[in-house]
Structures are given as C-alpha cells and as structure tokens.
C-alpha cells in the first residue's frame, strides 16, 4: 500500500475520532452547565479548552471563555485546526485523495458528514445553544463510519492503519478528558464527595460514554474507581489500556505482512506501555500524581504516533 494512502487512512480515523470526542465532551458539559448554574462560565468552560491544549489560540481568537465562545471554538471554528469542523473537513480532504482506496459507502458517508457539519457551521446561530441533536449526529457520524469501514473494506493493511489511528486517538482523548478533573474542577477539601463533585465525576464518565458501563461494573461512584476504569479497565473500549493493547495487536498484524523485524520503535513502545498498564494499579497512579501520570501517557502516545509516521509514512529512499 502507498505510504501516502496509509497515512491518509490513519488520519481520517484520527480526525473523525477526535471530532466524536469533542462533540461528546462539549455535549456533556452543556448538560452539566444546567446542573451547575452557580458556577461561572469561565470555570465551567475553560477546562474544556485547557484539555485540548489549544488555550493560547483560544485566548487570541476569543479572549472571554463564555459558553458560546468555547462552543464555537471547539465545534465550528476553522481557524482551530482541531475543531469538529476542521477535523471533518480534513478527514474529507484525506478521503478525497484516496478515493480509489476506500469503499464508495465510506466516501459517501464522509462526504455527507462533511456537508452536515458545514451546513451547521453556516447556521451556527440556529444550532447554539440547543445543540444536543447536532452533537449527537456528529457522534453517530463517527460511529457509523467505523461500522462502514468494518463492513465494506477488506480487513487488510489499510483497514488496520485506520484502526490504529482510532485507538491512538482514543487513548489520547480519554486520558485528556480524565485530566479535565485536574484543571479547575479540582475541589476544595470540603467539596470532595459532595453532590457537585459527584456530578462532575459522572460527567467525566459520560464524556467518554462510560457512565453506564462503569455503573454496571462498580455500581457506586468512587473517584478512584473511575480513574481505574478509564485508564486500566481490560474490557471497556475507551479505556487507555484497552486502546493501547489493541493498537499493539493491530500493529502486529500490519508488521506480520511485512518482511523484517517486528521490533519497530512504535511496537516496542506500545508493548511496554500496555504491559505497564496491565500491571499498574490505581493507587500507584494516584501516588505518582494523576495529572503527572496522564501527562506521561500522552507523551508516550505522541511518541508512538511519531514512530508510526517514521516507519510507515515518511520512508526515506
């Protein structure tokens, strides 16, 4: 498979997964804001921008972190390279360059998805603030793409690179969303275990679609258990561990079809990371410092991405 094509499939999936995460994240926060009317906008919405690591750009473009500003920045602003609109547009541009490599259904869906978001961006005044339906459509647009990929393209190299993109992006985003609790939501001692604290923790779960699955696994809401679930759970498809171990399996399948060693740098890092997550317990994470631990996870995930790029996409002659 052409390196450029593999690169595009990988990024289509990363972009769409990112759009899904942003949409869910913003949607949950919108609903959370209704339960926490006494909290000022800045405290309610700035953490979202902080977790996306685009704070500087936001301040430059908007200044004030009002709900509407943050919403527009994360969802519709094409000057923000990571907004839902930019992600879907970039996914489509990538799909356009590899149309002959993907199924017609996949292309039609991405194309339709783009028009959905573009039209919404044009009519953003009608979308905001009752954005629930639209954000749900974005989430479903991403989920539908996964289903279409699984059922219409051969499960060979291209599909594997797509999956790899999905898992890498998702591991990163779950970690970041968990980290939102570190930014500003950090409660004062007397608020730990309060109603507000619990509402916020359940929002974190909902932001990664984990609320019901967590409930079924642990029942009551305990912050420690929530951290354990989102980082270490063996079976939940958005936990960091699940994503890294599956990324590792996928990478192994890709390398199997190649001649030469399977000890590429990306493989080594993924294998070491998933093995670490397998044997780590949540107490150790908290002792290390959750924010610091998440920072470390993100650094490794970024390095894995860079290694994948060097090995498969940007081959030297």
């Amino acid at each position: 498979m052409l390196s450029r094509v593999a690169n595009s499939i990988y990024w289509i999936n990363r972009y769409i997964e990112r759009a899904e995460n942003y949409a869910r994240f913003v949607g949950v926060n919108t609903s959370l804001a209704l339960d926490t009317a006494n909290i000022p906008d800045a405290m309610q919405w700035m953490p979202l921008v902080a977790t996306t690591a685009d704070e500087e750009l936001f301040k430059e473009l908007y200044g004030e972190p009002t709900q509407e500003n943050v919403f527009n920045f994360l969802i519709f602003d094409d000057r923000n390279f990571n907004s839902v609109y930019s992600c879907v547009m970039n996914a489509r541009e990538n799909a356009r360059t590899i149309r002959e490599n993907i199924s017609i259904e996949m292309w039609e869906h991405i194309n339709g998805f783009y028009y959905l978001v573009r039209n919404a961006a044009k009519n953003r005044h009608n979308i905001f603030p009752s954005s629930r339906e639209f954000l749900k459509e974005v989430v479903q647009g991403s989920q539908l793409l996964m289903g279409i990929e699984d059922s219409t393209i051969s499960h060979t190299e291209g599909w594997h690179f797509g999956k790899l993109g999905r898992y890498i992006e998702r591991a990163d985003k779950t970690a970041r969303i968990l980290d939102v609790k570190y930014f500003l939501l950090l409660p004062s001692i007397e608020e730990v275990g309060s109603v507000l604290d619990m509402i916020q923790w359940s929002s974190v779960l909902k932001s990664v679609s984990a609320f019901m699955m967590y409930r079924r696994t642990y029942g009551q809401l305990f912050p420690q258990k929530i951290i354990e679930f989102l980082i270490l759970d063996r079976y939940f498809p958005r936990s960091v561990y699940y994503c890294t171990v599956n990324a590792q399996h996928i990478l192994k399948s890709i390398l199997k079809s190649h001649r030469g060693s399977i000890k590429t740098p990306a493989m080594k890092k993924l294998a070491m990371l998933s093995s670490e997550l397998y044997y780590t317990n949540v107490k150790e994470i908290i002792k290390f410092g959750m924010h610091e631990y998440i920072d470390r996870l993100q650094t490794i995930i970024n390095e894995v991405n860079d290694n994948i790029h060097e090995t498969f996409f940007a081959m030297k002659n």
Binding site: E93, T97, E100, N111, F161, N317
Partner: protein, 474 residues
C-alpha cells in the same frame, strides 16, 4: 408531456426533422416521456443532480466564489445516435488515429512527411508541443497516442466534422460513464426499450491497453495525478478505482537505479506503466520545465531506456496543434492513401498571408483560436464579440500569425434540453474516447457536451457547459 411547443428555430436538431417529426432513434424515448408531466421531468432532473452531489462527482473551478467544487451539470435528456451513423464515425476515427500515430512517429523519427513536402517543417519547429528531447524516441509497440478524446461537431447541414483532436490526456470519460449510471436510474424503461449499446467496459479496455504496452505479465500500473487541486482529480481517482490500480502523485514516485518506484508501507515497489494525467512539460523537471513541482525527476531517462511505459507518450501533443489540425486530411492521405472519412472544419491559417487577410477582414463572422490552447480559453467567437474584442484579436494575430487559426462559426446541432421548467434546444458536441493498444477500441458514443446557456456555442464545463448521456443504437 409532448414536444408540441418545441421549436428547432432553424437549427439542425438531433431529435426532430425540420418538419417536426421525431427521428427514428428517439421514438421509444419520446413515447416514454409522453407519459410524464414537465414536473416529473424536472423532478427527475433534480434527483439526478442530487445523485451527482452524493457521489461527489465534481470538478474544481479555480478562483470561483463559494467553494472550489461544482458538479458537472447533467441534462437528463439523452443524445441519441443511430447505429449506422456511429459505425461510420468509428471507422473514421480509427482512420484518423492510425494516421496521426504514424505522423507523430515520423515527426520524431525520420521526418519523411517534411521532406515529401506534405507538412512544412517550420510549422513543427515553431510548435510549442514539439519536444526536441523526444527525437529518436521509440515508444513501446510504436504507439504514441494511447488515449484520445476527439471532439466532433455536427454542422447546420447535419455533417459530422472533427473540431479538435485532443491527444493530450483528454478528460471527461468519467462523466460519460457516470452519466450512464445516473440515466439507468432516471429512465430505466426508456433505456431498455431503446436498445442502447453498453459503455461500461471502458475501464477494462483501458487496463488491457496499459498492460499491452508494458510487455510483461501482471505489470504494476499506476495513474499519475497532479493532485486534488486539479480540475479533473475526480476522474483520476475514478479511473484508478475502476481499473484497480494505485493513484499516485509525484511525491509517491522516485527514480532509482534506472527504474521508477513508488513508496509503499513495505518499501519501494517498481512501477511498469504510468497513465499520466500531467502535461508533457511538467513530467520531468530534469528534461523539460525545470520549475515543475508536479513531475518526477529522472523519469524521462527511464522512459527512453524502455524501463517504464507512459501513456500518452511525451511529445504526442505535436499532432494536437491547431495549425497541424488543418493538415490532418493531407496527413491521412499521405500515410494511408485514403480520403478522410470524417471531414475537418474549414480552417484558415493566419500563417499564410492570404488567409490572414481574409481573417482580418471577416473576423466578425469567424471563430479565432490560439494554436495551443484548450478548454475554450484563448478563443474569440466573432459574431458574439464586440468591435473592441475584434480589434484586440486583430492585433494579436498580426503580432504572432503562427499562433492563430480561424474557422467559420458553425451552428452546432441541438438537442432538446431542460431549461428551468421548459424544454428548449441547446447546442452540443460529441467527444468519443479512443484507446489505441493491441487494437483501436472506441467506446460507443462518448461524452456529449452541451452549452446550457441559451444561444451559447461554448460547451466547456469551465464556461457554463454541461453534459448529456449519449445513446448509440444497435
């Protein structure tokens, strides 16, 4: 609905005779349409447009407001050609391509056509499309023009004529193929009743032709595109998909150890045949335009040594020059000893002083074209232009006579077309697609382009043109 109000307005009409009788080929179609209201037709038209949008069948327009992508408008009323007429056109096109291929080969090897005084040598040497580095070149199997899209027009007397030869990566074949798919949904019954020749083996024939010039079993074939900003990008991707080959950009290719390779996730892979959709002079910055960012450095050397096949061969454009065009009937006679089956449009070469004087005096009645331009650019339609524009072109011609030709304004034949909620005649041309491999294969029909603006004679998609499905009967 019936066509009672339809007025041919004195033009040659593809569907109606001058006394308003429906021509034989259109009878089943008109019977089918008789059961529909104009609203039904308009709805079908909208459904067709939605399908095009959903399929992403678009072309790019440079510097256009409101996004760079547009759909190529498709008018759902088909253009129908009788089988007997088509068979003769096919014969004529084969004759023309055979002769042009011999001509190109001669230009770069031997140049007998000049020494025998058929075509003046100076014309070739002054042609922008004549490529010196191609002298002595022997393309695989002696074929230069593998893919051609000859433009045909029908004049006011009903005579089909060649307007242009288009030997340089002609586009539009994907629209031809998709138009048929859309019309299968729009008029399934009429299509069935009319008994239309199929066109869907084009991609198979194209692949067979490319394999033929590789001269090895299971060659690696690629389509080379300038990228997504090219107006025909959709077509490049479409053809690669239909043939089951990789679509590559220049950055995917690299020349190494005397071969062309593509970069894959498993390392470099050798490429045997390239259907290139970039212009000759952009192909290789080392041989041609050093500023080209679209090309692959060193590819021309590999090609010259026969280690990779290119379709079409570089240098082919020399036979596409509009001045050479005027000589094609002589070229056919010279190489094949036959009269041209499909006539040219009468052409004045401003290079000849007598012709130039005629053109300057009669510019208001003529169409003036630049010798090397395509796509309807660099052209003057005398009867539609202002006196100032006439004057500008007179100056241009006098400054560089070699670069201009002129032809009488031909009133292209018309086909009924949807104009809002009415049916009116619109002017059309026809671009059949010709593949030259082991044998010459021509897809029945081709792309009928239609000037959708009332009264317009310009069918180019960049200038308000659309297309129609073309039905060739048995």
């Amino acid at each position: 609905m019936t066509f009672e109000d339809y007025d041919i307005e004195g033009f040659f009409d593809e569907m109606f005779t001058p006394d308003h009788q429906i021509k034989q080929g259109y009878v089943p179609f008109s019977e089918f349409v008789a059961n529909l209201s104009i609203d039904d037709l308009v709805q079908k038209q909208h459904a067709a447009e939605r399908s095009l949008m959903a399929l992403g069948i678009t072309f790019n327009v440079y510097n256009a407001e409101g996004g760079t992508e547009r759909i190529m408008p498709l008018d759902i009323i088909p253009r129908i050609i009788e089988g007997r007429e088509w068979d003769k056109l096919e014969e004529g096109l084969k004759q023309r391509i055979t002769a042009l291929n011999l001509f190109i080969d001669d230009v770069y090897n031997g140049q007998k056509v000049f020494t025998d005084g058929v075509v003046p040598k100076t014309l070739i040497e002054s042609s922008k499309c004549f490529l010196k580095p191609c002298l002595g070149l022997q393309p695989p199997k002696g074929i230069w023009c593998h893919i051609t899209g000859t433009d045909l027009i029908r004049d006011q007397h009903g005579i089909m004529r060649v307007l242009e030869d288009n030997l340089r990566c002609p586009s539009g074949v994907s629209y031809m193929l998709e138009n048929r798919e859309i019309l299968k949904r729009t008029f399934p019954k009429a299509l069935d009743d009319t008994q239309v020749r199929p066109i869907n083996n084009y991609a198979i024939s194209l692949r067979e032709m490319l394999e033929y010039i590789a001269d090895k079993p299971s060659p690696t074939i690629v389509v080379l595109t300038p990228g997504i900003y090219n107006s025909a990008y959709f077509e490049h991707a479409y053809l690669a998909l239909q043939m089951g080959v990789e679509l590559v950009q220049n950055s995917d290719l690299v020349v190494k150890n005397g071969h062309v390779y593509m970069r894959t996730t498993k390392g470099l892979k050798k490429v045997d045949v390239i259907y290139r959709r970039i212009d000759d002079t952009f192909l290789d910055p080392l041989t041609f335009n050093p500023e080209s960012l679209l090309g692959v450095p060193g590819i021309f050397e590999v090609y010259k040594k026969g280690k990779v096949a290119l379709a079409n061969a570089p240098g082919t454009g020399v036979a596409d020059d509009k001045v050479i065009y005027a000589y094609v009937p002589k070229i056919i006679k010279y190489y094949l000893g036959e009269e041209a089956i499909i006539p040219n449009v009468p052409t004045y070469l401003c290079e000849n002083p007598e012709d130039m004087q005629y053109v300057l005096d009669n510019i208001a009645d003529l169409v003036v074209k630049e010798a090397n331009e395509a796509g309807g650019y660099g052209m003057l339609i005398g009867p539609k232009a202002s006196a100032e524009e006439h004057e500008i072109f007179r100056k241009k011609i006098k400054a560089n006579p070699r670069n201009y030709i002129a032809q009488p304004t031909i009133q292209l034949s018309r086909v009924p077309s949807l104009a809002g909620e009415r049916i009116e005649g619109r002017h059309v041309d026809l671009r059949p697609y010709i593949l030259y491999g082991k044998e010459i294969v021509i897809t029945p029909g081709g792309l009928t382009r239609v000037a959708l603006r009332k009264g317009s004679l310009v069918v180019n998609s960049s200038q308000g043109g659309g297309s129609k499905d073309t039905w060739v009967l048995y």
